[in-house]
Amino acid sequence: MQELVNRAAELLADGSVARVLGWKAGDLPYNPEPAYFKNAEDLEQFVYNGFCGANLSKYMIEASKQSGKTLIFLKPCDTYSFNQLLKEHRVDRDKAWIIGVGCHGKLDIEQIREQGVKGIEQVEEEGDRLKIQTLYGEKELSYQSAMLERCSVCKGKEHKIYDELIGESAETGSGERFGRVEDVEAMSPEAKFAFFRKELSKCIRCNACRNVCPACSCRKCVFDSNQFDSAQKANVDSFEEKMFHIIRAFHVAGRCTDCGECSRVCPQGIPLHLFNRKFIKDIDELYGAYQAGEDTDTKGPLTDFTFEDAEPGIVAERG
């Protein structure tokens, strides 16, 4: 971490960058927040640890509008989002100084709480163990058991775009990316319906998934527009919650890098990544493997076609 701070201070000092976009230590052991740093003094609060899961690439949209370069720290999977934003001309490459930071998987406080940890006072990362001091005694967990879901299907330790790299990364993926999707696909229509009914009925329409999503960068979202019937704001009926999530997933289909931020931020723990992965899986199967954010110039699958594409009837045919 100190290496990151030193380099940031250096770049600020020599005027290469006007500000630094990173993570600031929180007031609890697990709640750092995205923040801008303007000088070495600010940087005293800089932190980079297992809880820095927030993907900073979307903040670059605003930072691109400011004068001077912004130093941005990106984890390997964040670089996919950055690339995608670049492809869509939402961020300015010349305004960003990208330091690729190492990542060994990020932690999910909900996973920690799920394991019965209450009253957290201190969290220490020691190799593959987490030592947690709580009001009710000490707990020890394996790092892996407390990781974000997305880290179990890690896209790899390679940064797709950067100016310099600091730190080592490790691939943390051990899970099957489409495992959960396949489980659901194998269910009967009744069971699928019941499963999503249970999950989606938790939705409170707080829009956290949308607002955190690097692909959801429309200036005005269709769900905020009072021009149409779409700004219903609340899930008054079970239809509305399906509508919101299907359409949101559809609008990012072919652009979603599977960064997993939507699932990370959902206050109700809805596995929102299932929708995105379903689209990714279909796209891979029907139109050829495609990873959004892999590069900045290929055409997205929904802005492209071939003459031989499958007919929509294939959905019914594969049963």
């Binding site: 927040e33 009253g119 905020d224 219903q232 609340a234 206050p267 109700q268």
Partner: protein, 343 residues
């Protein structure tokens, strides 16, 4: 005071639910939220805070106000039936009970909100003292004693026993109905538990938070502070904090055309949304900084100004736990505390 063993709780719920609705913390899809009790519901009284606050019981996320029908070119208005059945809400934490008191200050003042009032009239609150507060809790800062909940009936969980104490007339009435399941009990164990939980509350990291300087008179100083510009930066403008909050009461009124009539319903809204104050001639809060500031100013300055110094925050800690970018009211108060308003 009465007591009942944990293994008999189900019988208690069944008895309460025999002639009225029972609303309590239920685990579904991995999350605990207040929901109607049924015999297969997975009741969870261990989890400290439900994800959504129990304010839904009195102020639902969406509710129909009335329906407009058109018949032979003539409009008619059918108001929605008010809540006319008694219900019990079980297991509300002390902070959330206080949250209901805050909502009362909004909906029960003139002009009365009859939809809310009807629910309040028909609802009996069975509150439950905390036994294991979490690091996100700061109810103590608002003078709430998490060992001594308000409400119509107060309940304490001590080991495998639940202690039950009716507090109000409504509480007595409910107790009379179910007293056959209870044993008489004295308060010794409960008192010990209260002491223990107060000790924990003192040790919580946020319990020393100071609200000095936050009151109805602090408008100008706080409003003009340059800290907002910095504090709001990570804010995503989502509505998580407002929707999990037990006291946020802003709402929107919207229309839904069903094809056979228009339902006018109200639903929670969030001051964090860009269209919150949008009107045809423009928007008086054009930046996220202004919207962010509004939420905290309302809770800590505007609301106390109108309500004899009562804050519209109860320290439940939901926003602390749920904000996607770890922003929250505590960080705001601390920033002012550490650095003064005008730094």
């Amino acid at each position: 005071m009465y007591k009942i063993e944990a293994k008999n709780l189900n019988a208690l719920f069944q008895m309460i639910a025999a002639d009225q609705e029972l609303y309590l913390p239920v685990r579904s899809g991995g999350q605990v939220n207040f929901a109607y009790w049924h015999k297969d519901a997975e009741v969870d009284l261990e989890t400290l805070n439900s994800v959504k606050s129990p304010k839904d019981a009195f102020f639902p996320q969406s509710e129909n106000l009335y329906t407009v029908k058109r018949d032979a070119g003539r409009m008619s208005i059918e108001p929605e039936e008010l809540k006319n059945q008694k219900f019990v809400i079980f297991g509300i934490r002390p902070c959330d009970v206080k949250g209901v008191e805050v909502l009362d200050r909004v909906f029960l003042v003139d002009p009365l909100d009859t939809y809310y009032a009807a629910r309040r009239e028909h609802g009996t609150i069975v509150s439950m003292a905390c036994s294991e507060p979490e690091e996100t809790c700061f109810c103590k800062v608002f003078g709430i004693d998490c060992g001594e909940p308000a409400g119509d009936v107060a309940v304490w969980k001590v080991g495998d026993e639940f202690y039950w104490k009716p507090v109000t007339g409504k509480g007595e009435a409910l107790t009379a109905k179910v007293v056959s399941l209870f044993d008489e009990a004295d308060e010794t164990k409960v008192e010990a538990q209260k002491e223990a939980v107060r000790k924990i509350a003192d040790r919580l990291p946020y319990s020393n938070l100071s609200l000095d300087g936050w009151d109805g008179g602090a408008l100008e100083e706080k409003f003009d502070s340059i800290l907002w510009e910095e504090l709001h930066k990570p804010c995503l403008a989502c509505g998580t904090c407002t929707f999990v909050c037990p006291t946020c009461q802003c709402y929107d009124i919207k229309d839904y055309d069903t094809g056979s009539g228009v339902q006018r319903y109200r639903c929670w809204d969030s001051c964090m949304y860009s269209d919150f104050t949008m009107m045809a001639h423009g928007n008086n809060r054009t930046t996220q900084m202004q919207r962010f500031r509004q939420r905290f100013m309302h809770k800590l300055v505007y609301f106390p100004a109108n309500n004899d110094g009562m804050y519209s925050c109860v320290g439940c800690g939901r926003c602390v736990a749920k904000c996607p970018v770890s922003l929250n009211i505590v960080k705001v108060v601390k920033a002012f505390q550490d650095r003064g308003g005008d730094q």
